[in-house]
Symmetry: C2
């Protein structure tokens, strides 16, 4: 490809003049500008982002670490991150954490290798300590859907506990007492918080949830199916089930469908949901909304702030970094009469 040198020669000017024109720095004689622009057009010149990065030590690249690519969750995240980045003409580098600590470390290393201006981590395996240590480095990063003590100002968080409380309270308010819960993998903090929210809401209503009223899934569809089976075998008297992910809800509904247990006349179903998938089930199920899209948006904004002023935190106060749940009521649950 043509280089700036080629353009300069063709236009009969110095490279720095071309550079200035490209970057719009200073003023130029109009014919100089014309000559340069013409040369660029003729050569189909495009400045090398790479060379520019090296010279300016700013790459305009932003890294995004995700745990997996499937599911609408990730898509929603990408969507928002990209949209925001596009506007600022930045490049998005995505890498996957391979579901393990070494994978996530490697990901960060790659961001470093590229000298990304900053990165966004949806990390699940890096330890708090490791993250805190990373925060010492100059390269700014933010965490999405994770809270690390001491790094609060870089965390975009969601109140999973309150989310569960909210939806379970909704069920309780409708007169339900026998409410089962399909949780995510309890070794994961957020999944644990969701489960605890359920338990807390139940206890607040004077109901002690029996261990057999809770089944652990892996957030996937199949596990929802299995958990439903387990739950209903142990507790045929359940009048409602709360599932902690939309995928598991799909499995749950499948099970109910196969057993000809009618929703919502025989049992109510409510769910966690991030991408409004619950509206595509039949019947459409009520859910607590996990606003991953908005959170991603906030993450980019936060990061942009950190990148702009490396150490200060001016104006970040205005930024919303903590998100609270909201209810989306639909038709798969109904009052106990």
């Amino acid at each position: 490809m043509a280089s700036i040198k080629d353009v300069a020669e063709r236009a009969g000017v110095n490279r720095s003049t071309v550079s200035r024109i490209i970057n719009g720095e200073g003023k130029f004689r109009s014919d100089t500008r014309r000559k340069v622009e013409q040369a660029m057009a003729e050569l189909n010149y495009r400045p090398s982002a790479i060379a520019r990065s090296l010279a300016t030590s700013s790459t305009n690249m932003v890294g995004l670490l995700v745990t997996y690519y499937t599911g609408g969750f990730f898509g929603a995240m990408m969507e928002k991150v990209q949209a925001e980045l596009d506007e600022h003409k930045k490049f998005l580098i995505t890498v996957q954490g391979h579901h393990c600590i070494e994978g996530e470390r490697e990901a960060v290393r790659r961001f470093d290798d590229l000298r990304c201006d900053g990165f966004i981590l949806n990390s699940r395996h890096l330890s708090d300590d490791e993250l805190r240590e990373m925060a010492q480095s100059a390269r700014p990063f933010v965490l999405i859907d994770r809270v690390v003590e001491g790094l609060e100002d870089r965390c975009i968080t969601f109140n999973h506990f309150a989310a569960s409380e909210l939806i379970v309270e909704h069920l309780l308010a409708q007169g339900h007492q026998h409410i089962g819960c399909i949780s995510g993998p309890i070794h994961r903090t957020n999944a644990r918080n969701r489960l605890r929210g359920y338990q807390a809401a139940m206890r607040a209503a004077g109901i002690e949830p029996k261990p057999t009223m809770m089944a652990e899934g892996d957030y996937g569809r199949e596990s929802g199916y299995a958990a439903a089976k387990q739950l209903l075998s142990a507790h045929p008297d359940l009048t409602a089930i709360y599932s902690c992910s939309e995928e598991m809800t799909s499995g749950l509904l499948q099970y109910l469908y196969e057993r000809k247990i009618e929703v919502p006349s025989q049992i109510s179903v409510v769910s966690y949901d991030s991408v409004d998938l619950c509206s595509s089930f039949y019947p459409q199920v009520s859910a607590v909304h996990f606003p991953i899209g908005e959170m991603s948006h906030a993450a980019v904004k936060l990061l942009a702030g950190l990148m702009a002023r490396p150490s200060a935190e001016t104006a970040l106060a205005e930024l919303k970094t903590h998100f609270e749940p909201s209810l989306k009521l639909r038709r798969a649950d109904q009052p106990i009469v």
Copy 2:
């Protein structure tokens, strides 16, 4: 961050020695190696991919243009592309086409700016001519799910026509005669091919599909719902409906659920599917499988081949670039008795 110069100074050797050790070129006195490795470790040194790119004029970056991020389709694509790229230590740059020609052009421009080693296009708006012209440039690229005359050796394709034929024939074989079709946006080539496959299969069975037996959707859920309504209002006698995307199928099922039209006892449902979403519906619906995952994998392989030998096409013959449909039979359709 520490640079190669810092490492060299600390180790008391020349930069090129460090460079060679990093890249494992040649042999070294063991104490030289040790000194260098120690210096690198102490400084926490990581070579700059950017500087390296500039020096070698190879960036190890691969671009991926997608039309949108939502839906499992895209996730499946990312998954495979990343996995493959990770193994070769390459970086993935994703950009979105913004659903318009200018957006897709801009995307390619950005790949150029970064001097990506190559890119993968899931393009819908760039014209055949434009693509052919791009092919003149040195930067290799491949097309996924698109066929462009003259660029056959860069296209990873799927037989959409045959896919529709296959699933409709399945329905016909079961005795169905009144089969409706919910198609994608007919201004899109692939959507049109799917519709034509349906028509061809019907005609081959001696049935002329009436215009009112076909409804156009936009591949989204809502449109599936609307199309179902439209179809069944005009043709209450339909015994089966073929929906050209899993999302539309979801809408279709929702409609049937609301109208209390039982599947499969009152009507059979079959669908197009790429990410096995149809197995998460209840009842699970039979589908023709659109193997986007495998195709993505093939795309990366193809691209890797092109990047390795810029002009030649050795060994590409072994590569599978064309994919045929396969049936995944489940329970939402049944024979006419």
